[in-house]
């Protein structure tokens, strides 16, 4: 049997795991709540919906962005869980390469997040059509960037999962890395006018800023008047480069570490 056939089997059963887990439906619920919050709060707290369809599209991208963070909860236990819960004794004693197992797990996680991201963009599209009667072409770019961001967040999570003893530890470390450390450095660099395109949190912003930068995003929230400093929107091209870097390096490292890791 070919390794590709084994990969197909591993991916299928791993995907089944995500479908049967509550966390998929929790993140699905959170994605819907996020989109509803934007659709209800923006007109209620402001003067109706923004005039610009691009500003509204940028605001609505919060749903798919949130879905990508779900990747951390899907992938945190992908590798660490096999060692922590000892299911590796059952899985690793089969004639399958560790790399095949890790790639299968990665593809299954990606598939699960993809479902959420697609749902997010369906809501974005329907909402924009209902409110403005049009959907900007940039939505496609936003979707593409969201897919790339999902891949890079997954790779970083897989890396932490490969080096962590436990699944909870891997999930928390990744959340802290993406949501706290990267975000703090991002804010500091942004405020001091330094380049910050290489940070994962900045890369995630491109899902919204692709519609017209930070200014347009803030316009949807009432504008940037009163801000003590100016935001410079990082180049999409550099952000793409950065995401590809996180994706490739994180994934390759997780493969290498998983292959060498012993189950004692």
């Amino acid at each position: 049997m070919s390794e590709f056939e084994k990969l197909r089997i591993v991916t299928g059963y791993e995907f089944l795991k995500h479908v049967r887990r509550k966390r998929l439906y929790v993140i699905l619920g959170l994605t819907l709540v996020a989109e509803l919050a934007v659709l209800i709060l923006v007109p209620v707290l402001g003067d109706g919906f923004p005039d610009s369809v691009m500003a509204m599209a940028a605001l609505l991208s919060v749903g798919p962005s949130l879905a990508t963070i779900g990747a951390i909860f899907f992938a945190g236990d992908a590798i660490a869980g096999e060692f922590e819960s000892k299911t590796g004794f059952m899985l690793f004693t089969n004639p399958v390469k560790r790399t095949t197992l890790v790639i299968g797990k990665y593809l299954a996680c990606y598939g699960a997040v993809l479902l959420l991201v697609i749902l997010g963009y369906v809501i974005v599209t329907i909402s924009l059509l209902a409110i403005y009667g049009t959907v900007p072409i940039e939505t496609l770019s936003s979707f593409g960037l969201c897919l790339l961001y999902t891949g890079s967040v997954l790779s970083v999570t897989f890396f932490f999962s490969a080096i962590s003893k436990g699944a909870m530890g891997a999930t928390v470390i990744t959340l802290v890395f993406v949501m706290v450390i990267s975000a703090i450095i991002d804010s500091v660099l942004m405020m001091t006018g330094q380049p910050h395109w290489f940070l994962l949190s900045t890369n995630g912003d491109t899902i919204a800023t692709v519609y017209g930068g930070y200014e347009l995003f803030m316009e949807g929230l009432g504008g940037m008047e009163g801000m003590p400093f100016e935001f410079e929107t990082p180049s999409i091209g550099l952000s793409v480069l950065s995401m590809v870097g996180y994706l490739a390096v994180g994934f390759l490292l997780s493969l290498w570490i998983s292959k060498r890791r012993q189950l004692a």
């Binding site: 089997i9 059963y13 089944l16 299911t87 690793f92 089969n94």
Partner: protein
Amino acid sequence: MKESIVIENLTKYYNKFLALDKLSLRIPANENVGLLGPNGAGKSTTLKILCGLIRASSGAAYIDGVNVAEKPEQALSRIGVIVETPEFYSFLTPEETLGYLGRLRGMRGDELKRRIKEVIKLVRLEDWSKVKIEKFSRGMKQRLALAQTLLHDPPVLILDEPGLGLDPRGVVEFREIIEGAGKEKTIFFASHQLVEVSQICNHVAIIDHGRLLAYDSIVELEKKYQSLERAYLELTEAPLE
């Protein structure tokens, strides 16, 4: 005679702790060999190296002539394994678990379905075959572990305390199943239960501090030490140089 398992000068360090000290052992095909030794003697380490779960610091292990470290997939295709207390994915049922593992081993369609039914019946999990494993007791997981070990009908079984967590009836049933399988398979069986080992195996290897102390037929050891128990006690209490 063809040898199913060959262990050559196997040495394993966990940091500075020496778990295996140039252990060598040759197990002929269709032989049932018990691996005995006190806690920390190196039994599980030996079996884990044979299953490719950990790497030896030096030396080599072979399954049916295939070097486990060099060609792990090829070696693993020849064995069925129970290592430590088995754990399975709680979101799957036994049928689904066996389906997954069977497919990974190249089994397909009706042959796989038939074999899943057979092994589930053999370990008496028929009433639980469609229940998610999250509801299973330790003994039931142990039964499922034995089912997955036999699923693909491997020529070599490597079993680490397979009776752990079973009730007395389960222990007897397990022993009968393994005894039955052992008639046409090689079994390498680590256990603390001397009675269990003597009922399933015809040879034993006794190890302590990672070293081989004795490897002989149970009959010969009983002749020499009066009983297997005395052989075990005398050999494992001897001070090491």
